[in-house]
């Protein structure tokens, strides 16, 4: 083989090797939780670090919202079906914040397991439907999770939880 060709071949092989290694590493990297998002269950079980700025999210437990009459302070509980944690927040809540809706909060967890949020954002999933359809689904299929909803467990379990809670509310009332 011509010397020039040989050199080129070696380089191409090296390149393929490098790209392969990069892709492998990326597959590993995708497994990691990099934005320090902890579910209420993780917070409850002590998996989440205390005294650090972390993110957490879940579904607002209906009936848990307590507003302070003098200030903007509010406390509520969030849940992912497997665990619950109390959240304290001082500020204006987003419009979509209603009992039963999903939120994402940034803040700190203290030793007592209370999450003091500095920011509360409303999260919603990828489902869009008219209210009457939603109601019909709920009525027809208790425990229903919308067709093909995402793999994110939070959302699926959240939906289940919401339905359960709706039921329990109904039963109680």
């Amino acid at each position: 083989m011509n010397a020039v060709r040989k050199q080129r071949l070696i380089l191409v092989l090296l390149l393929l090797l490098g790209v392969g290694a990069a892709v492998t590493l990326m597959l590993f990297a995708l497994q990691e939780n990099i934005n320090h998002y902890f579910s209420p269950a993780q917070m409850e079980s002590g998996e989440a670090p205390t005294g650090q700025r972390v993110r957490g999210g879940g579904l607002v437990v209906p009936g848990s919202v307590e507003r302070n009459t003098e200030s903007l302070q509010v406390s509520f509980r969030i849940s992912d079906g497997a665990g619950e944690v109390t959240v304290l927040y001082d500020g204006i809540l987003p419009d979509l914040f209603v009992e039963g809706s999903g939120i994402v909060a940034t803040g700190m967890l203290n030793k007592e397991g209370v999450f003091t949020a500095s920011e509360v954002l409303a999260k919603h999933d990828e489902n869009y439907m008219p209210p009457e359809v939603q109601k019909a689904i709920d009525d027809a299929h208790p425990g229903y999770s919308s067709p093909g909803s995402s793999s994110q467990e939070l959302q699926t379990s959240a939906r289940e939880l919401e339905v359960q809670q709706l039921e329990s509310l109904n039963n109680g009332g």
């Binding site: 011509n2 010397a3 020039v4 040989k6 050199q7 080129r8 380089l11 390149l15 490098g18 790209v19 290694a21 990069a22 590493l25 990326m26 590993f28 990297a29 497994q31 990691e32 939780n33 990099i34 934005n35 320090h36 670090p49 650090q52 700025r53 972390v54």
Partner: protein
């Protein structure tokens, strides 16, 4: 006159010669090595001046400030990476070399990194202490810089190659490089912040490794292509 078939290709020797040349040049006008470091130091000290000099706030901002300082410092030194070669005609000689251009530019980028990113990495712990970064954050900071600054050099070199013929290309270079720099910045500061808070940070680190590897493989090709195209 030797027959080409019989000649062996000394690509490695050419790369070494290029690295040696660039390092000699850097050491001959010592400003080149000291300057990025001094710039780094100054950016880091501008912030406490321009922003409230509160110790707690500062220690929270520290990873960001240091990384932004490093980023800008690398960016500024990148401007002349190929332009100085273009100005004196060495670039034409590089392009006329029988060795693969991608290999040669990789050598050039490496020596650029040695004189900028590497020095910054060595210096960073000092700044970290100056800016009250918590002790746990210092090692991760150095590590992210070690993995991240080569990516900055590689990605920036693409921009430098594209702007080599442009008169006042410095700012355009910034514009072209920043999109590629932002992910590095985010993951690196993410890692340091996580580490400073005692959270796991290997996810960020893995991403930086991915960037580095893919940069090492793909950037030289883009740089070489850009140089060939732009040299008219």
């Amino acid at each position: 006159m030797m027959n080409i078939e019989q000649q062996s290709m000394r690509g490695g020797a050419a790369c070494l010669a290029l690295i040696r040349r660039d390092l000699t040049l850097a050491f001959r006008s010592p400003g080149q090595i000291i300057n990025p470091m001094a710039f780094f130091l100054m950016v880091a000290s501008l912030f406490p001046l321009g922003i409230a000099p509160d110790k707690d706030v500062l220690s929270q901002l520290a990873p960001g400030i240091i990384w932004i300082g490093a980023l800008l410092s690398v960016l500024m030194s990148l401007d002349s990476l190929f332009k100085s070669d273009q100005d004196d005609g060495s670039l034409d000689q590089l392009l006329m070399s029988p060795h693969p251009l991608a290999m040669l530019v990789l050598a050039k980028v490496f020596s650029h990194w040695l004189t900028s990113g590497f020095c910054l990495t060595v210096m960073a712990p000092l700044l970290a202490v100056m800016l009250h970064l918590p002790g746990e954050g210092i090692f991760p900071l150095a590590l992210t810089l070690l993995l991240g600054t080569p990516v900055l050099s590689l990605a920036g070199a693409i921009g430098a190659a594209l702007t080599v013929r442009i008169q006042r290309g410095g700012v355009l270079l910034t514009l072209l490089s920043l999109p590629l720099y932002i992910p590095v910045l985010i993951f690196a500061t993410g890692a340091v912040n996580a580490a400073a808070q005692g959270l796991p940070w290997n996810g960020h680190l893995l991403w930086l490794c991915v960037f580095l590897l893919s940069g090492l493989c793909l950037a030289p090709l883009a740089i070489a292509g850009a140089l060939r195209v732009v040299s008219e």
